[in-house]
């Protein structure tokens, strides 16, 4: 059995495989996963086909083909999937390797259901998700929750994990 590249721990043939082959995705998340897998497997017909009609002509297939080939697709992590009727928003993190660099990219994609088919509409990169506070300023509240300023309490050299 081939594990599905989307990270579901299910077999490809029981996960993204049938959707890439043309079966409708039951949820927006399933479509999101299958589009990632299509990049990893370089079967971009599926990606182009599942763009909403108003953005399909804007899809730079030649560039996408190059990126699919250049990148080693490491993982997809779905952080949050919200379906509201026929629209959905999915927050996710992809990790890939390109030109000897590992890149972690967080983003939110929007989807819509037309006649029972989930379609991709747009993508917003939100790098604030990947920012982590690693240092406490002298005047910041102390991380020990004492309510005092850090400089009056545990000090400011504390590095947060």
């Amino acid at each position: 059995m081939t594990l599905c590249p989307c990270g579901s721990t299910r077999a490809f043939d029981e996960c993204c495989g049938p959707i890439i082959a043309g079966a409708p995705a039951s949820t927006a998340e399933a479509l999101m996963r299958s589009r990632y897998t299509a990049f990893a497997n370089r079967t971009l017909d599926h990606v182009e086909r599942t763009h909403a009609p108003e953005v399909r002509d804007d899809f730079n297939r030649a560039e996408a083909e190059r990126l699919a080939e250049e990148c080693e697709w490491k993982s997809l992590e779905i952080r949050r999937a919200t379906e509201t009727g026929d629209t959905a928003e999915i927050e996710f993190v992809v990790q890939f390797r390109r030109e000897q660099h590992t890149i972690t990219q967080a983003a939110t994609s929007c989807f819509r259901r037309d006649n029972g088919q989930w379609l991709y509409i747009s993508n917003t990169l939100n790098p604030q998700i990947t920012q982590h506070v690693t240092k406490v300023g002298r005047n910041d509240p102390c991380p020990c929750n004492s309510g005092k300023k850090a400089k009056k309490c545990c000090g400011t050299t504390t590095e947060l994990k």
């Binding site: 002509d57 804007d58 899809f59 730079n60 297939r61 030649a62 560039e63 083909e65 190059r66 080939e69 990169l125």
Partner: protein, 256 residues
């Protein structure tokens, strides 16, 4: 002092090197000759060229009521140490009668206001232009004397504004890093540039001839890839030729 300038081309060929900005019309007419890309040159408010660049290119709103004007030029993407592929063995232009309007207008440059053109008549260090009083009078009273080529190129630039604006809108919508790259380029002392691919323009403009254009570009890109291989100074050129050749390879085989 009357601003009187003399100029005569001595056919030294030295201005026929490196990147060449083209009109859209010239770019596609020469798709079998030049490896093509799009060069974005941002300009900060306050520059004397700002109003014209905002007219010929586009403007981008930034935070805090600031904005950038950006010139977007289809460009023959050639390293500055490389001659124009149309420069013949005799050091003369092999397509002289039919050359791009950018070449016809030299040394004038219609991307800048006419009254500033005098500054462009000072030859660069290696150029052998004749600017002595023996050369013809070409600029007088803030106006160009022989102005046909200048006017024609300016007219082409004005006519292509709508298609370039649509392209700018497309790129700003889909390229998350473009605005930051433009801001970064505009903060440099010497004008910085951002380069975008021909494939993005063909997609944005829904060019029906994309496959044919890609077939013309592919052998050129491969040729320039080979010519720039192994040279550290040309690594960025080499990488771009490589990337674009992959895209053109896809487009040249795509079913239409």
């Amino acid at each position: 002092m009357a601003r009187v300038k003399h100029f005569q081309c001595t056919e030294c060929g030295m201005c026929c090197y490196g990147q060449l900005p083209l009109t859209c019309k010239d770019a596609f007419a020469n798709a079998s000759r030049f490896p093509l890309c799009f060069v974005w040159t941002p300009l900060r408010q306050g520059s004397k060229d700002y109003p014209l660049v905002a007219t010929l290119g586009t403007t981008i709103k930034l935070t805090g009521r600031k904005e950038l004007a950006v010139l977007i030029t289809p460009t023959a993407y050639i390293p500055s140490s490389f001659p124009c592929p149309a420069l013949g063995d005799d050091n003369l232009c092999s397509i002289h009668s039919n050359k791009p309007s950018r070449c016809k207008t030299m040394p004038f440059y219609p991307y800048r206001e006419e009254r500033y053109q005098a500054e462009l008549l000072t030859p660069r260090q290696s150029w052998a232009c004749d600017t002595s009083t023996a050369a013809p009078l070409v600029f007088q009273d803030n106006a160009i004397v022989f102005r046909n080529d200048f006017d024609n190129e300016r007219q082409e630039l004005l006519e292509q504004v709508p298609i370039l604006r649509r392209y700018a809108d497309y790129m700003l919508k889909y390229s998350a890093s473009l605005v930051n790259n433009l801001i970064h380029a505009s903060s440099k002392v010497k004008a910085g540039h951002v380069i975008t691919s021909l494939s993005s323009f063909l997609t944005a403009s829904k060019n029906a001839d994309a496959k044919h254009i890609a077939q013309l570009q592919l052998p050129l890109l491969k040729d320039y890839m080979a010519k720039t291989a192994g040279d550290v100074k040309l690594a960025e050129f080499h990488r771009n030729y490589l990337n674009w050749s992959k895209e053109m390879a896809y487009l040249s085989q795509a079913q239409s």
